[in-house]
């Protein structure tokens, strides 16, 4: 009994030092040497101020930006979250109806089956940084209108979408996906910056 107590105690101290500190610090060291930007949160800076992380979605409600997936926690990060509504939830249906109505402001005659489902259903993380290619293309008309762009600029936006699309990884993992923040930042630069 007493012997187990002593061994347990020593074992806990040593494993806390080893698996808590030494292991964590060693991994951190490797990360800082090889993947410095990534381990620090893939932050995007502009003139010294952080304007976001490539991996964390921001709230875009202005029609001139690409919108990401809706967030049940309204893009809160501390913590983020999902709706967790089940398949026959009244509240979920109400949320979807609200989102449909919001989209109808810009596309008055659209039918619900023509709206990309990603814009109607909230992501799981509440911070999903991506949308699919279709969901991005769907928004081009709205953005052109909001920015009062001439038709020839459409090509510019399509090129930007293409540039910010990540292809299927290692040829079989995931679907092509568009990084919404990256795309919006560059679109701002290209369309306003010159």
């Amino acid at each position: 009994m007493g012997k187990n107590f002593l061994i347990s105690l020593k074992y806990l101290v040593i494993s806390t030092l080893f698996f808590g500190f030494i292991y964590t610090f060693a991994i951190t060291g490797v990360g800082y040497v090889f993947f410095k930007n990534k381990v620090k949160g893939s932050l995007i800076e502009n003139n010294g101020t952080v304007i976001g992380s490539r991996l964390i979605q921001q709230n875009f409600s202005d029609p001139k930006f690409f919108w990401g997936r809706p967030s049940a926690s309204n893009f809160e990060t501390m913590p983020s979250g999902a709706s967790n509504y089940g398949a026959i939830s009244k509240d979920l249906k109400k949320n979807v109806d609200d989102r449909v109505n919001n989209i109808k402001k810009f596309y008055p005659n659209i039918k619900i089956e023509d709206i990309p489902p990603e814009l109607l259903l909230a992501s799981g993380s509440g911070l999903d940084p991506h949308i699919s290619l279709n969901t991005a293309l769907f928004q081009v008309d709205r953005i052109m209108k909001a920015r009062k762009l001439p038709k020839i600029k459409r090509e510019v936006i399509l090129t930007l979408i293409n540039k910010h699309t990540r292809k299927i990884q290692i040829d079989f993992l995931g679907e092509p996906r568009v990084n919404v923040l990256g795309l919006n930042i560059e679109m701002e630069k290209v369309l306003n910056g010159k």
Binding site: F5, I7, S8, K10, Y11, L12, I14, S15, T16, F19, G20, T24, V30, G31, F35, K38, V39, K40, G41, S42, L43, I51, G52, S53, R54, L55, I56, Q58, N59, D62, F65, F75, T77, M78, P79, S80, G81, A82, S83, N84, Y85, G86, A87, I88, S89, L92, K93, V96, S123, G124, S125, G126, D128, H130, I168, Q169, F172, G174, E175, L181
Partner: protein, 564 residues
């Protein structure tokens, strides 16, 4: 389903099947104390551990000593973890100046991480300091996983040995699991995860000014190192609140693939290790075949259900609660894997999945995660089912129940029944109490049949030490923190204690060589019997609850008749 979906599923199966014999025989070597590829690197460290802790690694323990060492170690680990969490505001590495964890939440979290459940009624980013994460939770991620592996090793030794109650040395099994298996795999995993964008830093949370001019606080932390062991060690407790849905915890399809493979890697290979340790590789294969069959059926049904649309919601696909970078197939694969194995991490919100997928996930939990189980934790559950199967089959054909040459008698059967029924009772009784009290009901997000599933899932997840959540339930209340904490204790120790008692009892028995009268336990018939027993026991116990929950929900959904 698209071609990429099928490729992903195939790649998953191929990786598991290819690594299984290699990792399995490597682990067997480790536990037999034979020389292996890592001996030159890790051997010295192993001896240093023994020397510093005062462990006599040559000494064998009988099952009682083994059990006492394990319980003492777990108990003191709990005390230490509780203190770290309670006092985190006085400890270093707390850049966000978070307060100490309140008592009942701490009670729940401590039990959760000691028992390898890793149920979380908090979100890491706004509750735990970096110190608590690394010195408290990360350490217990390692230790609780190694404890689980040690039990299965002891069980195997009990089966193999003859007329002795000695089943190995707890400290040796623990240390070898840690240093030869969990640590090297975690290091590799952590580095691969960082390459994909998982964060690993001690700097403060960063405030960003967004494009639309709002302030956004971006949480950070030493996550990659902890996520690696969380996936490999059947732990499943997320660094961030939304677990492996958080883009910092699982940023790309490739990181997702790594993490889902990591869930099943060791548990699958342990069936092979078990076969080698008991000296009958076919028996390991039998266990694997039974597990893989149930797994494949469950995965198939869930994929079928999830790729339908929701008739009650404008025929939209089931994308609520899923992130775009994973999509439907990867989310289902993960959900079935994490509930079959007692991992409990999630990459999609199970609560928002189709009712059938939610039901399959729940069934996986209530079968005691016998299907693959956790790192150690499920394989010994599976062996409880094996003992029951041997017993029932023996009764049916009138033969002496035997397993691996050891007679299965009343004592072993009684213990196995305890191990199967106690957690099951905890699930049903807990759910019943929650249903009957306003304390239980006030935490629900959804009402109607889905609300019942939220509670059933929570008690199943805690009682079977899984730790995944149906997530609609607000579990951070004194009622749930306390009741789920008790369920986690029952789920862990009401299985570990009988398992070690059986190991001791079997070890003490004579070996009976197989004869014409022996009921074979290494053929297809036995695989089918075993599957039958698992389904009958699990099914009969829980069918009423499931029909009021998920089945009713599914019928309401396809009839578009009623919303809750």
């Amino acid at each position: 389903m698209l071609a990429t979906d099928i490729l992903t599923l195939s790649a998953f199966i191929v990786v598991i099947l290819i690594t299984l014999p290699f990792l399995g025989s490597y682990m067997a070597k480790v536990f037999e104390g034979e020389k292996n590829i890592l001996s030159p690197v890790v051997g010295g460290l192993e001896n240093k551990f023994y020397r510093l802790c005062g462990i006599n690694h040559d000494r064998e323990m009988n099952y009682k000593e083994y059990l006492f060492a394990l319980l003492m170690f777990n108990f003191l680990g709990a005390v230490l973890l509780f203190l770290i969490l309670a006092l985190q505001n006085h400890l270093p590495f707390n850049p966000q100046h978070l307060n100490g964890v309140p008592f009942w939440l701490n009670f729940n979290t401590t039990i959760s991480f000691i028992t390898n459940t890793n149920w979380q009624s908090y979100s890491g980013e706004n509750t735990l300091s970096y110190f608590s994460q690394l010195a408290g939770l990360c350490v217990q991620n390692f230790l609780s996983a190694a404890t689980g592996i040690a039990v299965i090793v002891a069980f195997a030794k009990g089966l193999r040995r003859k007329q002795t109650s000695e089943i190995g040395n707890f400290w040796v099994d623990l240390t070898r699991s840690l240093l030869y298996i969990l640590l090297p795999l975690s290091v590799i995993m952590a580095i691969l995860l960082m390459s994909q964008g998982v964060v690993q830093t001690f700097s403060n949370y960063v405030t960003a000014i967004t494009l639309e001019g709002a302030k956004q606080l971006i949480p950070l932390g030493p996550a990659a190192s902890q996520i690696a062991i969380k996936q490999l060690g059947s732990n499943g407790g997320g660094f961030f609140g939304v677990n492996s849905l958080h883009p910092f915890e699982n940023p790309t399809p490739f990181s997702n693939f790594l993490e889902v493979v990591a869930i099943l890697l060791i548990p699958a290979a342990l069936t092979y290790t078990f076969g080698k340790l008991v000296g009958a590789r076919r028996h390991g294969l039998v266990l694997f075949a039974a597990m893989a069959t149930i797994f494949a059926v469950n995965l198939g049904i869930s994929l079928w259900a999830e790729h339908h649309t929701n008739p009650s919601l404008y025929n939209l696909p089931f994308l609520e609660g899923k992130d775009t970078r994973f999509g439907i197939t990867n989310s289902v694969l993960w959900t079935i894997t994490t509930t079959s194995v007692s991992n409990g991490s999630v990459n999609a919100m199970i609560s928002s999945m189709s009712p059938i997928t939610g039901m399959i996930a729940t069934i996986n939990l209530i079968l005691g995660e016998a299907i693959f189980g956790g790192v150690g934790a499920g394989l010994y559950m599976m062996l409880m089912f094996v003992i029951l199967t041997v017993f029932i089959a023996g009764l049916m054909v009138g033969r002496t129940p035997e397993y691996l040459g050891k007679k299965i008698e009343a004592w072993e059967v009684k213990l196995a029944v305890i191990a199967v029924l106690l957690p099951a009772s905890a699930i049903l009784i807990g759910t019943m109490i929650a249903c009957l009290s306003s304390l239980g009901l006030s935490s629900l997000t959804n009402h109607g049949p889905h609300g019942l599933m939220e509670m059933l899932y929570a008690f199943a997840s805690a009682s079977q030490n899984n730790g995944s959540a149906f997530a609609g339930l607000n579990a951070n209340t004194n009622f749930y923190n306390f009741s789920l904490g008790i369920c986690m204790l029952i789920g862990r120790y009401a299985v570990i204690i009988p398992a070690l008692l059986i190991a001791g009892s079997l070890g003490g028995k004579k070996y009976t060589p197989p004869s014409a009268g022996t009921f074979a336990t290494d053929n297809t018939v036995f695989v089918l019997l075993l599957i039958g027993v698992i389904i009958i026991i699990g099914g009969l116990t829980f069918f009423p609850a499931l029909s009021l929950g998920a089945i009713a929900e599914h019928l309401l959904m396809i009839n578009k008749s009623f919303l809750f």
